[in-house]
């Protein structure tokens, strides 16, 4: 079916502003394939079913809308207490000066900008591959755009238990920066890797991360998206999870006029565990969208989606979550919960939880709720002498706790928790 003219025009206008980078034959081919995928789909529009709750207009404009740079003075950098390999991007451009030497036991790290110019690289079979798999059954054109045009990113291969986490730090300095980064991660058999991400990245950020977890591998991901309020971001995580392996991802989003975080995860091996979780806090013109698609294509696997949003002063939260259980994926244990705490009547939560099950011996549950602070609990706390604002914070933190609990590392969980507390104190 031919695309509507408006879609074609928007797509070409966007591409005109973004040169397709040069590279070795494999990189060129991957980019051209992605470009063809994109042209066949067209960039998303308001009428697309998958974008019913989130207006993609600002994400597809040729130029990034301006976003003021926020400078935090109240906290030290996130993750500073953690021994890590820090890789810094400023407005989407790698900053070698500010970064650590990318060497650590159990890890091979290279830059997309350099690796894509060489003929032989392990990532050549992965770059764009998982993204392409994630275009069915629902189209994700902004991810194809990313694959086609990303000039940089990191390629990380974990060959054993990584000595330290890899920490991707995204700084935002320029009010009109438009950053596109594409990372590829391969966790080899029995290997373990933690990837940390933090920062706003740019005025507008399009990020794609492809994660291939081989049998017996473990991948942990913790991200905090930065407090810059005016920034816009669309991110995709595409993962393939082999047998007896683990994929766990947690995202904290505090502020941001527009964030769309997509995860597309295929469980292809038996006895694996996939958890994706998020806590989002928004005040005012905040729009935050978690769109998650988990496919069970193996036996005896567990998946959990836990998303909590705290919304006030007209903020909007969106959740689109799907569990697809393919024929034969018996003994699937799927759980999905999305909840919003609405701190006033102006805020809204739009949720579309979905289950699609083609196996008979599975246990899947999903729930979605939105509600106000529990007045009875609030009174109980106040009757014990806890001031109203503090009591509200306690109840809000309790609400978010189930998502935070998904972070396995206690030190990181404590840091995320303190950021959350700070946000609540600033937004009373």
């Amino acid at each position: 079916m031919a695309l509507p003219q408006a879609k074609l025009d928007a797509t070409e206008a966007r591409l005109a502003a973004l040169p397709v980078p040069d590279g070795a034959a494999w990189a060129k081919a991957a980019r051209e394939d992605a470009l063809a995928r994109l042209r066949a789909m067209g960039l998303p529009g308001r009428r697309d079913e998958y974008w019913r709750f989130t207006n993609p207009a600002d994400l597809i404009l040729p130029e990034a809308p301006e976003a003021a740079v926020f400078i935090s003075t109240d906290y030290g950098p996130l993750y500073d207490v953690i021994d890590r390999v820090k890789l810094v991007f400023v407005d989407g451009v790698f900053d070698a000066e500010a970064s650590d030497d990318p060497v650590a036991a159990g890890l091979e790290i290279s830059r997309l900008a350099e690796a894509s110019a060489t003929d032989i690289h392990w990532a050549k079979d992965l770059y764009g591959t998982l993204e392409a798999r994630g275009q069915v059954p629902v189209q994700r054109p902004l991810a194809a755009l990313n694959t086609a045009t990303a000039t940089d990113g990191v390629l990380i291969r974990a060959t054993g238990k990584a000595e330290k986490p890899v920490s991707l730090v995204y700084l935002h300095r320029n009010t009109t920066s438009d950053a596109t980064l594409h990372h590829v991660i391969r966790v080899e058999e029995g290997a373990e890797l933690t990837v940390l991400e933090n920062g706003p990245a740019a005025a507008r950020f399009n990020k794609c991360m492809e994660v291939d977890v081989a049998d017996g591998g473990a991948f942990h991901h913790i991200r905090a998206q930065g407090r810059d309020h005016e920034r816009r971001a669309v991110t995709h995580m595409f993962a393939r999870v082999g047998k007896e392996s683990t994929y766990k991802s947690f995202t904290l989003t505090a502020n941001g006029v527009l964030t769309r975080n997509e995860q597309f995860i295929e469980i292809t091996g038996d006895n694996s565990v996939v958890h994706v979780a998020g806590a989002a806090l928004g005040d005012g013109d905040f729009h935050h969208d978690d769109t998650v698609f988990i496919t069970h294509d193996a036996v005896d696997c567990e998946s959990r989606q836990v998303f909590k949003k705290v919304l006030r002063n007209g903020a909007t939260g969106v959740f689109q979550g799907k569990i697809l259980v393919k024929p034969g994926a018996q003994k699937t244990d799927g759980y999905q919960i999305s909840q919003a705490l609405l701190l006033d009547e102006d805020s809204q939560f739009l949720a579309k939880p979905e289950l699609e099950i083609y196996a008979d011996d599975v246990a899947c549950s999903h729930g979605s709720t939105s509600g106000a602070i529990d007045e009875t609990a609030l009174f109980y706390l106040r009757a014990r002498g806890i001031p109203k604002s503090l009591a509200q914070d306690l109840l809000t933190l309790a609400f978010v706790a189930e998502a935070i609990d998904e972070i396995e590392d206690d030190a990181i969980a404590a840091e995320i928790m303190s950021r959350l507390e700070g946000w609540l104190q600033r937004h009373r």
Binding site: D374, E375, Y380, L381, R382, A383, R384, L394
Partner: protein, 251 residues
């Protein structure tokens, strides 16, 4: 200590009067009991005193050591020394019992201009007091009242009271749902707190609790008013004859 004068209270949402002129004075060092038929307004009185939303005071006053408490926020009343052991303690998923109590103790101390209690001292105190009430370490760690049995919830109320050391304690049917041994524990907990500077208002339906916590004064509440006041013998009379005689007598 607690001085309630001609207190009239209606519901905010609907035009319904519940308290119709309550007069009550509790002196420091004394234990007062309130008995009365279901629906007579006992819990409402305790909620209005502790500052719960949804009630409108249309007439009268309530003071704690001379300070008008009806003008205060619930947390200010607590810091001023008022404590209510709830008839139905509230479950708060996600908030640990220990965190809750330490936050409460420190918030009250802060409001009174006192230093926060150190984590170590707090732990020592709460362990000792929990032990007296047979509340185990696991219950302290769990979320506030979540998964507690009826009796455990009531003991948890008394633990909170013991930790907060309020001046004026209101106990709303703390005996309901308690087995005989738990009733003894709760009564011991209350008796341990009895002293010259502290007042108690004990709401109950049964003489049994009053065998353990000997009241100085007993009030009968009916239809939103205190209709009769007497000594401990009044509770015995209720136990033996019910309310019919008393209500007939004052009607």
């Amino acid at each position: 200590m607690l001085n309630i004068k001609n207190l009239h209270v209606s519901l905010e949402e609907e035009d319904k009067q519940i308290l119709r002129g309550v007069d009550l004075e509790v002196h420091a060092g004394k234990v007062h009991a309130i008995m009365g038929p279901n629906g007579s307004g006992k819990s409402t009185l305790s909620y209005v005193l502790s500052g719960r939303d949804g009630y409108e005071v249309t007439e009268g006053s309530a003071t704690l050591e001379g300070a008008d408490i009806l003008d205060m926020e619930p947390e200010e009343r607590a810091a001023a020394g008022l404590f209510l052991a709830f008839q139905y303690p509230v479950e708060i998923p996600g908030v640990g019992n220990m965190t809750f109590l330490r936050t409460a103790v420190n918030a009250q101390r802060k409001a009174r201009g006192e230093d926060e209690v150190s984590a170590a001292d707090f732990l020592k105190q709460i362990r000792a007091k929990a032990k007296d009430l047979k509340i185990d370490a696991d219950m302290l760690k769990r979320a506030v009242n979540v998964g507690f049995s009826g009796g455990e919830k009531k003991r948890n109320e008394i633990l909170q009271m013991a930790m907060l050391e309020p001046k004026m304690c209101i106990l709303d049917e703390t005996d309901s749902g308690l087995d005989v041994d738990a009733m003894k524990l709760v009564a011991d907990g209350v008796n341990a707190l009895r002293d010259a500077g502290r007042g108690f208002l004990v709401i109950t339906h049964y003489q049994r609790l009053l065998d353990h916590i000997k009241p100085d004064v007993v009030h009968i509440m009916a239809d939103g008013k205190i209709v009769k006041t007497g000594g401990p013998e009044l509770a015995l009379e209720v136990e033996n004859n019910g309310y019919a005689d008393i209500l007939a007598e004052v009607a």
